[in-house]
């Protein structure tokens, strides 16, 4: 199986879907002539032309709205947010139009649109450009939210997202664009709403997604050296959430630690903890713990940034706490 970087896997997904369906097009800031700020759209303009790979002005609300409008009349837009920090400007279109029109039109309109781009912190980008907005989108009925952690999932989920007839928020990671992994060639779909066990274990369930999977796996490796077998679960899609995979795992391990990049208050991890509490209460031997970023705007200084973010040590400590060791 070919080994691709995350950005190549995403690029392949878009190219294959654009090849397959002429209604699919890509729009965003610098996606065309510049080949994308993070080179995810490398070569697409050359291949599909400026009519299907459209450079926009710096006007997120505007091009998000154009995207929603085009989806209403039958196109399948992929709207790239250079980063999801900029999507905040487009939230009115995303929340009020993309998410609601199908419902408010009694099903007369479908909005098959994907908003994609990197979310979360990279390195030293400061408070306004280092935000994990997963919970914002997850809170809105009408949206699906996807957060892939490895290149293969990136490809398979993006293809499914493009084919989905509902608005999908597809949150990538800037630091993960260079991550490499085996990616199946050609038609490879990962269904939305289906999680995956990234590592099997019996002692504790660690739930993580996006780049936090790698923090979770690092922690699991460190724990394995101490004889603790952690099971790492990647829900992959945050909404709709694969409850069953979480419950099955917690029923086996009796304890759970959730690792998320976002802020602690009202985070996605809080929702996951709630679901586990609801459906696996009698299987819990310890409270579900969450490791999130600290409850502060992201500091610019790299040492402080590191301190704010989740890391393997913090996860290991939480795991030991739920194991009472």
């Amino acid at each position: 199986m070919p080994v691709l970087t995350f950005r190549e896997a995403l690029n392949q997904a878009m190219a294959e879907e654009m090849e397959r369906d002429p209604n699919v097009y890509l729009m965003g800031e610098e996606v065309g002539y510049y080949n994308g700020a993070y080179k995810v759209s490398q070569g697409l303009m050359e291949r599909f032309g400026p009519e299907r790979v459209i450079d926009t002005p710096i006007a997120e609300l505007g091009f998000a709205g154009v995207g929603v409008g085009s989806a209403m009349v039958g196109l399948r837009p992929i709207i790239e947010m250079m980063t999801f920090n900029f999507s905040i400007l487009a939230l009115d279109q995303i929340f009020n139009n993309a998410a609601k029109l199908r419902y408010m039109s009694g099903g007369q309109f479908q909005i098959p649109i994907v908003f994609r781009g990197p979310g979360g912190a990279a390195h030293g980008l400061g408070a306004q450009h280092s935000q994990c907005l997963d919970p914002w989108f997850c809170n809105v009925p009408g949206l699906k939210v996807v957060a892939p952690s490895v290149p293969a999932d990136g490809k398979g989920l993006l293809k499914s997202a493009i084919r989905d007839n509902n608005p999908v928020i597809f949150i990538e990671s800037e630091v993960a664009y260079g991550f490499k992994g085996e990616v199946p060639e050609g038609e490879f779909l990962v269904p939305l709403g289906v999680g995956e066990v990234k590592r099997e274990g019996k002692d504790v369930t660690i739930v993580a997604w996006s780049k936090m999977i790698h923090v979770a796996l690092d922690a699991a490796n460190a724990l394995a050296e101490e004889g603790i077998q952690a099971e790492v679960i990647d829900p992959r899609t945050l909404r709709p959430l694969d409850e069953q995979i979480l419950i099955t795992s917690v029923e086996k391990t009796n304890r759970c630690v959730i690792v998320e990049e976002g802020w602690p208050y009202a985070g996605v991890g809080a929702e996951i903890a709630h679901r586990i509490n609801m459906h696996a209460f009698d299987h819990l031997d310890a409270p579900v713990l969450r490791i999130s970023s600290k409850d502060v705007p992201m500091p610019y200084a790299l040492n402080l940034e590191k301190d704010v973010m989740p890391n393997a040590q913090k996860v290991v400590a939480a795991v030991k706490k739920v194991l009472y060791i």
Partner: protein, 417 residues
């Protein structure tokens, strides 16, 4: 003015204390700072000092009694003061630990409804323990309920004394019950039936048992043993809080080992043209697994202390369940013991594992009406059945072994010799 003397929190993790000894007695004059008693926390025994002066009017928690932190252990008052009102109040309002405002009723409905109390706790203890808000993880609660364990008798090792999975497992291991998290509903088998391939273990059990039943002439001897003193002894040993909890099974294993030493044929093997008598007593303990069983061996039992045997049984049972036993840890026993007491079996007959000469099947230690000094009283009894290989053990040989075993268990102090 009358003041209540309460059990102080002597360590961070202490939730209850035991009065080891009263230094002062009722009616003694007390000065503030006097050592009035010795109390034992979960960590150590410490002296309790009085904070108030007066007369020690009433000792509420007797020596050996347990009380939650902040529970009243005594009342100090003026010599002529009437404390009957206060005593009444103490009797009617069960002692509450800490500051948690949980009514007794609530405690009952939330924590022990599904875990019936098995034995009759003395009245004193109920006064002090019933009202404790039991902290337990949901899983621990569920496990305890499934096994009918009384949560009040389980000590919690989690934060703030929370009872967690491992605490319930410890109790289950001590009583020999195999914890099972599998739903107890019927197994789902397709209507047309199902063929299950044999596991290696199942294959080996099948082979050995058939070989044994076809080639070993079994006969069986059953006797009922008075366990009253074993029950007492076990409580006394476990009250020492040495860190080792002793189960009935541990005591039976030790007693069997001591008895086998005196009955080498029961500990021997029939080897075709000769009898083999072993110089060692290596006892195999049957441990049930999900599919099958295994008998980890406790070596040289006759030379080991009860505590040592208890620890080794615990460790090897855990290894057995984790499937981590090495072959030399479950082979070459000279005698096997199979205990189904935890499944409430009165008595049963076990199949001898060749080339052993015998196996002891142990039932449940149960309370029953017994005749003692021509009175019908409640006693503890256990029924054991010895399966013997008639080629090496005759009826009288086996009977004498059981007689000695019975004598030892009925006077367990003999185990110290």
């Amino acid at each position: 003015m009358a003041v209540k003397v309460t059990m102080p929190k002597l360590s961070d993790t202490m939730t209850e204390g035991v009065i080891v000894k009263w230094i002062k007695k009722e009616g003694d004059n007390i000065e503030a700072g006097d050592v009035i008693a010795e109390a034992e926390s979960d960590k150590a025994t410490m002296e309790l000092e009085a904070f108030d002066a007066g007369i020690l009017k009433k000792i509420i928690v007797k020596e050996g009694g347990k009380v939650p932190v902040n529970g009243t252990i005594a009342v100090i008052a003026e010599s002529d003061e009437d404390i009957s009102g206060l005593l009444k109040e103490l009797k009617s309002a069960p002692q509450k630990p800490h500051v948690e405002e949980v009514s007794t009723k609530e405690v009952e409905s939330t924590t022990i409804a599904s875990a019936p109390v098995v034995d009759n706790t003395p009245q004193d203890e109920i006064l002090t323990r019933d009202s404790i808000r039991i902290k337990a993880s949901p899983l621990a609660r569920k496990m305890a309920a499934e096994k009918n364990l009384d949560m009040r008798k389980i000590s919690g090792s989690g934060p703030g004394g929370r009872i967690i999975k491992r605490d319930v497992e410890t109790v289950l291991a001590e009583s020999g019950v195999k914890p099972s998290l599998k739903p107890s509903g019927p197994a789902v088998i397709p209507a047309g039936g199902e063929d299950v391939p044999l596991s290696t273990m199942r294959e080996s059990i099948a082979k050995t048992m058939v070989l044994s039943k076809q080639t070993t002439p079994h006969f069986y001897l059953t006797t009922e043993i008075d366990m009253d003193k074993v029950v007492e002894t076990r409580l006394a040993i476990n009250a020492i809080q040495s860190g080792i909890k002793i189960s009935y099974n541990d005591i039976i294993v030790k007693a069997v080992a001591v008895t086998l030493k005196k009955h080498p044929r029961v500990n021997g093997s029939f080897a075709g043209d000769k009898l083999v008598l072993h110089g060692r007593v290596d006892i195999g303990i049957a441990v049930a697994l999900d599919d099958g069983l295994i008998t980890p061996v406790i070596r040289n039992c006759e030379t080991k202390s009860l505590g040592q045997i208890a620890i080794e049984i615990r460790e090897s049972a855990k290894k057995a369940k984790d499937r981590k036993l090495k072959p030399d840890e479950y082979t070459n026993a000279t005698f096997n013991i199979s205990n189904l007491g935890m499944y409430d079996i009165d008595q049963f007959t076990a199949i001898i594992t060749p080339p052993q000469a015998a196996v002891l099947a142990v039932g449940v230690v149960q309370k029953k009406p017994v005749v003692k000094d021509d009175e019908i009283v409640i006693g503890h009894r256990v029924r054991v059945t010895l399966s013997c290989d008639h080629r090496i053990v005759d009826g009288a040989t086996g009977a004498l072994f059981l007689k000695d075993l019975k004598k030892l268990l009925e006077n367990p102090l003999g185990l110290m010799l």
